[in-house]
């Protein structure tokens, strides 16, 4: 693993963005999805990124997770600056230091739950740490389902498999993109509860993009985005505070577009 000293690597920071800019399109069609975002995501914390539609929250996550290349600024994950990495190194970084949970289409349909969970390890050719695997599987409560294929599982179960897969390689940071977007409330609670426990019990770092205040209320910290910039943040949020913030963000956006 190459340690690219970013110079500003602060102890306790799992990933950070420095003046991150992402522009789509050209000329009149230009959209600044990220317009100079600077943020540190702390290790061992459950962070939510919130904001109205089009605020750039997904783009921020994609850039930090090495899925997309920013137009400007710097993204650092686990002390490694992503800017100079080639596709091969990015692939390795994703495989070894980043975990993902997506909204849907999360699992490979031809593999069983167990195979899906172990996929990042088997792609890397690494032997799974059996004890850790068991711990994770028990934490998501999937032991009886390990031999099943995704088509034989409910949406909640599938998403828990995805969570287990994100954790099994012991990544520095787990990114979750609207992980409960397609789930009913019971399943959502299970998944969020598990993410919460992974932070509390395993010391995992989790960053979740969501627009659901209920989901956000499980986190330690919320970063609010609007029009590609960070506008606010909340620590140890409760649901009412979140709703209030969201409402004020919507108002700002509405006023801006009206004016």
């Amino acid at each position: 693993m190459t340690e690219e000293a970013s110079g500003e690597a602060t102890p306790g920071v799992a990933a950070s963005a420095h003046d991150l800019v992402k522009v789509y399109g050209k000329g009149d069609a230009e959209v600044r999805a990220l317009d100079g975002v600077t943020v540190d995501l702390m290790a061992g914390e459950f962070t939510a990124v919130m904001g109205p539609s089009g605020s750039g929250k997904s783009t921020l996550m994609h850039c930090l997770a090495a899925l997309d290349a920013p137009s400007g600024g710097e993204a650092v994950v686990d002390g490694t600056s992503l800017g100079r990495l080639k596709d091969k190194d990015l692939t390795t970084l994703r495989r070894e230091r980043v975990g993902f949970v997506f909204q849907s289409f999360n699992l490979v349909p031809t593999l069983t739950a167990e195979e899906n969970i172990l996929l990042p390890l088997s792609l890397a050719g690494r032997k799974p740490d059996r004890a850790w695997f068991d711990q994770v599987v028990d934490a998501v409560g999937l032991r009886p389902r390990l031999g099943h294929r995704p088509s034989e599982m409910s949406g909640g179960q599938q998403q828990r498999v995805a969570c287990a897969r994100a954790l099994v390689s012991k990544p520095s940071i787990v990114f979750a993109d609207e992980p409960t977007g397609n789930l009913d409330s019971t399943s959502s609670a299970e998944v969020l509860g598990f993410l919460r426990r992974s932070v509390d019990e395993f010391g995992q770092t989790v960053v979740m993009v969501t627009h659901d205040p209920v989901a956000a209320s499980y986190t330690d910290r919320i970063v609010f985005l609007a029009d590609g910039t960070i506008v606010d943040e909340l620590r140890n949020p409760d649901r009412d505070a979140i709703l209030e913030k969201m409402a004020s963000l919507q108002d700002i956006a509405a006023n801006r577009s009206a004016g």
Binding site: D68, R95, T110, L123, R165
Partner: protein, 851 residues
Amino acid sequence: MFRLTWRNLLARKVRLLMSTLAIVLGIGFLAGVMTFSTGLNATFDNIVYGSTSDAVVRPAGDVQGTSSGVSTDQVVTPADVDKLAALPEVESAVGSVDGVGSYLLTKSGRALTGTGAPTLAFNYAPSENMAGEQILELNQGRWPEQADQITLDTSTAERGGYTVGDTVTMFVPTGDPRQTFTLVGTADFNGGGTAGASLVLLTTPEAQKIFLDGEDAFTSVSLTGADGVSQTQLATAADTVVPEGFTAVTGDKVAQETQEQIGQFLDVISYFLVTFAVIAIVVGAFIIFNTFSILVSQRVRESALLRALGASKGQVTRSVLVEAFIMGVIGSGIGVLLGLGVARVVAWVFRTLFGLDVSGEVLTLTPWTVVAGFAVGVVVTMVAGFVPAWRAAKVPPVAAMRDDLVVQEKGMARRLALGAVAMVVGTALVVLGLVGAPGTDAIWIGAGAVIWVVTTAVLAPVIGYPVLVVCRAVFGAVFRTPGRLAGENALRNPRRTGATASALMIGLAVVSAVGVLASSLSATQDAIVDDQFKSDFLVQTPTFQGFNPEFGDQMQDVPGVDLVSRQQGTPVSVEVDGSPDQTFASGVDPAFFQIYDLTMLDGTDQISGDQAVLSDSRAADLGARPGDTIDVQFPGGRTIPLEVRGVFEGTPTTSGLTVPLSVLEQAGIKRSDSQLSITIDPGADRAAVKKDLEAVVKDLPVLAVQDKVEFKELISGQVNLLLGMIYGLLGLAVVIAVIGIVNTLGLSVLERTREIGLLRAVGLSRRKLRWMITLESVAIAVLGAVLGMALGLVIGVVLRESLKDDLTELSLPLGNLALFLVVAVIFGVLAAIVPAIRASRMKVLDAIATE
């Protein structure tokens, strides 16, 4: 609805282009071989009609000599020609002198003629064909005027590297074999090419010297009728003055006879080629079917939306069928045009391999070819598109609102049950063929085999399962996770994998079946040679045409040579059940019976004078027993009664009727040898004797001295040439099948965009992703190859069984089959190149983010 169909076509240009390519190639091939066949027929028609005069005076009888490779001593004197010319019905009578057994060398001394199409050597005398045109037209230089001058046809002169003024070497059938001439001109038949035959034009005295030992006479006479005289009137009038043993026939009859002779041979070529075009089209149909199936399943939501908006099932079906129709029209149109090019390629191959020359001028599209090309292309495309279209219409409207979009496909149970029944029916037909049902066995077996192939294609998803499981295990073990994923991908949609593999399966089934037959043929011929090659050496030409007996005389004098047996073959006519039956007779010398001891079933093989021995089957045909007398008519029209002395057990190398050489001489057939069998003295040095024998024929490369091993090689070389051609023709079907794999993979990659993105997100590198796609392609190719080869082996073995009277040995080309498997893997890798690159170029984010 039509506008939607059109938009759909435009929106999926690349995919449709790829499946249209399957039609283009299939129809291109069909149109190409049809054009070639038409051109081939036109070429021969032009020659036949362009080179035949109003009437011909020729030796009487049922067997024509020159066209069958023998010359006779029947002649027409100049006085006879004058008598013919004096008839009021005759405008002109031109005597011609021709004969067989001449061979040309190239300028550098290699064989120019004698390996393929015949060499026609004759005297030049201006004469007119039926249309009143000169039969021969000068291209360059002039006609031969002196004994040492020669004029050749343009193509032969070119192939031999000769230009006017060069010295041309020709081997002649009588006297001193090696003669040289000066090339004074080139000429062609009025109708165009010679279809590969070589024309050698000499002065009349020189032709008479070579073919008639210098006698001032002619072998036939061409007649041109006076104005207003019909061919029949002309022939009838001429018949009154022709000499004994000759007859006058109309030009139409001569042309018709020639066409009948050539026609069979041309039909065989056409059927042979069209068979492969049909295979290519069937393979193409599978690809079209598969492409439409995938497109339809990807368009489920759209079809459901249409249904929800009020479109009827019929409208949805029709919209897909119209797409198929448009594809069929476009593909056939391009294919028909491509056929012009294909025809030229086929013509080139025939010219190179067989010296069969068809000029580009006659390779044009006939209305029939265009109509057939479009009809086949459009019908095949629409038939292939029907099932997918029907399936699209069955999507319930509510599917538009649902998330899980899958075309509900029926379980495999019904398919399996139907398939099992079809397999049993196919097997029953094959068994009927084997136990000898009425009619040709091969037709029963062929019908059964076709049912087998189709059923295997339908059942490929089921019976291919074990093959794919093995692939998955092997890939997983060798290539770890990407291999495992590739194996799973091949298994996830068995119908699609099965249908894609089926295209390849058909091609390989035919390849393997043909391989078994060819391999068995080689083995059978090896066994025959082992059994029948009793002499130490054989001397003959590749086409078994006669050659100058002078060579045999010289070989007799080579030190170490014990016996030289001369054999001369000739067609003859015998009477079977009251009607003339053409067969083949061998004239042999006494040494023949010393070298080959025939297994006598009845009587003796001691023959001399007007006597003959018969094979058991020929004796049965004639109902003849030793002591009986049979009438045999020879070329030239003479009938000789022969006493049957014995009946021997027929073998593949003996002719049914064997007579002393003296009988042929008595019938007026010019001496020439078709084959020499040579044994050496005990203790003589084989290699040295062979060297000395070869020295005798070193000037005439077309004549070869072969020992047993070389003879085997010669025969297996001929089998392999044919096999190579068949494989080449089947290669097209395989190429179409590979296009199918490219298509399916490309569509699968698009369909799995998100999954690929996910895999990339969790750490699959681009290289491993390419591996994954490539291995999936290899799995499909291996499945097709394994199914095809297994089926082909069974079909080949069964066909061999039904032909076991001729193919006595069974041999499995296992080495070739292993090679085919390797080739299939290579094709699998090639087919994956484009889809794999496309997949690896996909951006991770696009893959995940597309909603």
